[in-house]
């Protein structure tokens, strides 16, 4: 490559890398003092474990910024000690006038850290302690099983369900998925009503008290169409199909609504303007996100096929957690990465002198490409898992580049020219490096297709970055090497390559 061509290529490459690094990593306040320029890394969704403290934006926008929400589902008739004390202390105990609110709160008895309505407890034992009655205990266990099954069916990373203070349920969801918190607390029988408004609508499934909803509805699921529209799919039995067809027979003349309800709560509503006569009903209200469609589907499916409980629940004590792994998790991960990056560059510059720049350029493009992909691909977040996958393939890229440099070094030592050494060195290791990258990328992508979070995120990033590493080492690194070499006449010292010393005979 001529010096002029090399200078043009090097300038363009430098500008490209500088531009990419700027948009990927630099955030700053704009001169107006109000707005902020956010880097791609700042805008990248953060895993609930890492949170937003560094690299996030602490505002109330609808972007996922890491962290998550926890809420406690209290059974009806059960309140927290805090709520009890607040209610109790808000009344004047020395006022003799009848206060129904005070009488209500006085019905509650302490059970562990909670307060129970007296109709849900047994009489006090010998030491004066209360415990819930057997029916409540049995129904509560069913509710725990139901909530656990629902949240597991969401297949979301970091979701957590726990029994809190013995007889309440605490759930945690990542900040992107808070739409699930309220609906998944609904309990009760699943019914389908048809009419102009919810209060006057007639129940069409189950139509008789002797029937069950499973006679009408088989299951529910969610789908995402090719155009990105999200649907809730309800699969009916023949009887369910006929019931809906019969009810919606006159819908063309007077439009109505189908109300899908779980207990007293609305799970889904569908405006009908024509007769519905199909086995599977695809419902999209145009506002479904993937998670809200999935939530509605899981709610309906578990109401039809899951465990049922007679208890109803109130969602309270919602708390926002910025980062489960600790507030500085992300900062420390960045610091660790910076140290490893520095160590890597020291190695390359010490061992290969200015040839280290070829590796630096390749690596920076690899890094920016990965950051852009994690930001742009909807199901990826910056997490410890994706970071681990990236570190593995970073090592792969470094080793691959080192292998190509070492092969060329060995050729150069035998007395070949630098151009010939590079060519021979690359040809000797090209297929080996190609195989390594293909095998690892295949393993990553195939794992991704079958895995569930958080393994799927790890596997996808691993596969994707293995491809980037392959392109980087086999194409980009050689190109960078070629444009850098055009600048020097002392090619050996430039790369810290030496000829083999031969003894004169």
């Amino acid at each position: 490559m001529s010096k002029v061509k090399s200078a043009i290529c090097l300038t363009l490459m430098t500008l490209l890398i500088a531009g990419l690094c700027f948009i990927c990593f630099v955030s700053f306040n704009l001169p107006n003092g109000i707005e902020t320029y956010n880097s791609i890394l700042t805008m990248t969704e953060k895993d609930a474990d890492l949170g937003l403290r560094y690299g996030g934006k602490e505002d109330k926008s609808d972007r996922y910024l890491g962290g998550g929400y926890s809420a406690v589902y209290y059974p009806e008739g059960v309140i927290s000690a805090e709520e009890f004390e607040l209610e109790f202390n808000s009344h004047d105990m020395y006022d003799n006038t009848y206060d129904p609110d005070l009488q209500d709160i006085l019905r509650y008895e302490k059970v562990g850290n909670l307060y129970f309505d007296s109709d849900k407890i047994k009489s006090a034992n010998s030491s004066g302690a209360y415990e819930p009655n057997d029916d409540f205990k049995a129904q509560f266990q069913k509710a725990v099983d139901l909530f656990t099954a629902r949240y597991e069916a969401l297949h979301l990373e970091d979701v957590r369900v726990s029994v809190f203070d013995g007889y309440a349920v605490r759930v945690f969801v990542p900040q992107s998925d808070t739409a699930a918190l309220e609906p998944l607390s609904y309990t009760g029988e699943f019914t389908v009503k048809y009419g102009s408004d919810a209060s006057s609508a007639a129940t069409i499934m189950p139509a008789r008290a002797t029937e069950s909803i499973s006679d009408y509805v088989k299951s529910a699921g969610s789908r995402t169409g090719a155009d990105g529209t999200n649907y809730v799919v309800i699969n009916f039995t023949q009887k369910g199909r006929e019931a809906l067809a019969k009810a919606s027979d006159g819908a063309a003349d007077s439009s109505a609504t189908v109300f899908f309800r779980v207990g007293d709560n609305s799970a889904l509503e569908l405006s009908v303007s024509e007769k519905i006569d199909q086995d599977s009903l695809y419902i999209s209200n145009g506002q479904f996100t993937e998670i809200s469609a999935k939530t509605s589907a899981v709610l309906i499916d578990t109401a039809v096929n899951g465990v049922q409980t007679t208890l109803s629940f109130d969602v309270e004590n919602t708390v926002n957690y910025h980062a489960l792994y600790g507030e500085n998790s992300l900062l420390w991960m960045y610091i660790v990465y910076a140290i490893l990056f520095a160590a890597m560059m020291i190695f390359f510059f010490v061992r290969y002198h200015l040839l280290g720049f070829a590796h630096l350029y390749t690596y920076l493009l690899f890094l920016c490409g990965t950051v852009l992909c994690v930001w742009a691909i909807p199901f990826l977040t910056l997490s410890v898992e994706t970071f681990a996958a990236f570190m593995l393939t970073s090592l792969l890229l470094c080793v691959s580049n080192a292998v190509t440099f070492e092969k060329a070094r060995a050729e150069y030592a035998t007395g070949k020219t630098m151009t010939s050494s590079v060519k021979t060195g690359y040809s000797k290791c090209f297929w080996n490096l190609f195989d390594v990258h293909i095998v690892l990328a295949l393993a990553g992508f195939f794992t991704f297709f079958v895995a569930l979070p958080p393994l799927s995120g790890f596997a996808f990033v691993f596969g994707l970055t293995a491809v980037f590493s392959g392109l980087g080492t086999l194409v980009l690194n050689r190109f960078n090497w070629a444009i850098l070499m055009a600048y020097t006449d002392k090619k050996g010292p430039f790369c810290n390559f030496k000829r083999e010393e031969t003894e004169d005979e």
């Binding site: 109330k60 927290s80 000690a81 805090e82 562990g112 850290n113 656990t148 949240y151 597991e152 957590r160 369900v161 726990s162 029994v163 809190f164 203070d165 013995g166 708390v319 926002n320 910025h322 980062a323 489960l324 792994y325 600790g326 507030e327 500085n328 998790s329 420390w332 991960m333 610091i335 660790v336 140290i339 490893l340 410890v384 898992e385 681990a388 570190m391 593995l392 470094c398 080793v399 080996n432 195989d435 390594v436 095998v439 690892l440 295949l442 393993a443 990553g444 992508f445 195939f446 794992t447 991704f448 297709f449 079958v450 895995a451 569930l452 979070p453 958080p454 393994l455 799927s456 691993f462």
Partner: protein
């Protein structure tokens, strides 16, 4: 390493692996993994505060220092502290959640609460009604999405191995399969035996890392074996080719595994407790493939090569010429 001949000690390596994996399977069945990092069964002291009153870092730090003083004076060891700052919107409060894994008697819980309340009452900034609310809570995690094993790693590794079989031969693919499977199981077994605290979803991740790394390290051997085959003029016997490939591969294997272990150690040393709990067990997923590719792999591959060579020798048809008709 140049005098070390691991392929001559296959029974020892197999015995070690068998003992570890079988013990791991038994313990996993009986006890499961130690998911203490997830705080599956915890006791927590919740110190909830009104963010509109305790509205500065200074006051929040003061509240935290009171809590620490009281907990320390009662000799209570906090396993984790989770802070939520709250926004004040819709009554959202800030909170300090101190987690404990050991049991604390009801008397001590009450004592801690009383002592803290006394300290808060004596402080003019924090003694308002409902400014700070203290409560002890118990929590038992019920969700366990970790155990949803979908054979994902197996599918991924097999896909890589099919390619390996095509490019490097059946022997390399079979050894690679054995090593990947071994390393995934070995990693899970060590986690189960050593009762290392892990997040509920993490064992699958560690097994996956071990299988992938195992594949990568075995590829180094495969590349050396193929190069050797190409360069040698006459076919080498199984032991010579395994030995020569091993002599050329072990340095690269050590460099790769060593760099990865250093990165994991650095992450573990510097990161927050949460990340450390995820990162440090990753070392097992690095060490297991290192062990298998340095000692078990060559030994297994030698046996595989011998078996395949024997098989191909037995199946080689010999041309014996046309059957002559007997003279009549």
């Amino acid at each position: 390493m140049n005098k070390f001949k691991p392929w001559k000690k296959l029974p020892i390596w197999l015995a070690i692996s068998a003992v570890v994996i079988i013990a791991g399977i038994i313990l996993t069945v009986l006890l499961g993994f130690n998911t203490a990092a997830e705080r599956p069964d915890n006791l927590q002291l919740e110190v909830k505060y009104d963010i509109t009153v305790v509205n500065s870092e200074q006051l929040q730090d003061k509240l935290e220092s009171y809590c620490e003083e009281v907990l320390k004076s009662n000799s209570l060891t906090v396993s984790d502290l989770q802070k939520t700052k709250g926004t004040g919107e819709s009554g959202e409060k800030g909170a300090l959640n101190y987690y404990f894994t050991s049991e604390i008697s009801a008397e001590t819980q009450e004592k801690v609460k009383t002592e803290l309340e006394t300290k808060l009452e004596a402080d003019n900034d924090l003694n308002g009604a409902y400014t700070v609310y203290l409560a002890w809570h118990t929590e038992t995690v019920t969700s366990a999405t970790d155990y949803i094993w979908r054979g994902a790693i197996a599918v991924g590794v097999v896909a890589g191995l099919i390619y390996l079989g095509i490019r490097f031969g059946l022997g390399c693919a079979l050894t690679g399969l054995a090593l990947s499977l071994h390393d995934a199981l070995f990693t899970l077994a060590v986690l189960a035996i050593a009762r290392i605290p892990v997040y509920a979803s993490a064992p699958l991740l560690y097994a996956s890392v071990a299988a992938l790394l195992s594949l990568a390290l075995w590829l180094v051997h495969c590349i050396k074996l193929r190069t050797l085959k190409k360069e040698s003029e006459t076919p080498l016997d199984a032991e010579t080719s395994v030995e020569t490939a091993y002599r050329g591969a072990w340095r690269w294997i050590l460099i790769i595994a060593g760099s990865l272990a250093a990165a994991v150690l650095l992450l573990g040393a510097l990161a927050t407790n949460g990340v450390r709990a995820l990162a440090l067990p990753l070392l097992i997923a690095v060490v297991a493939p290192l062990y298998s590719s340095l000692v078990l792999g060559p030994a297994v591959h030698l046996q595989v090569r011998r078996a395949l060579d024997k098989f191909s020798r037995n199946n080689k048809t010999k041309y014996v010429g046309k059957e002559k008709k007997a003279d009549k």
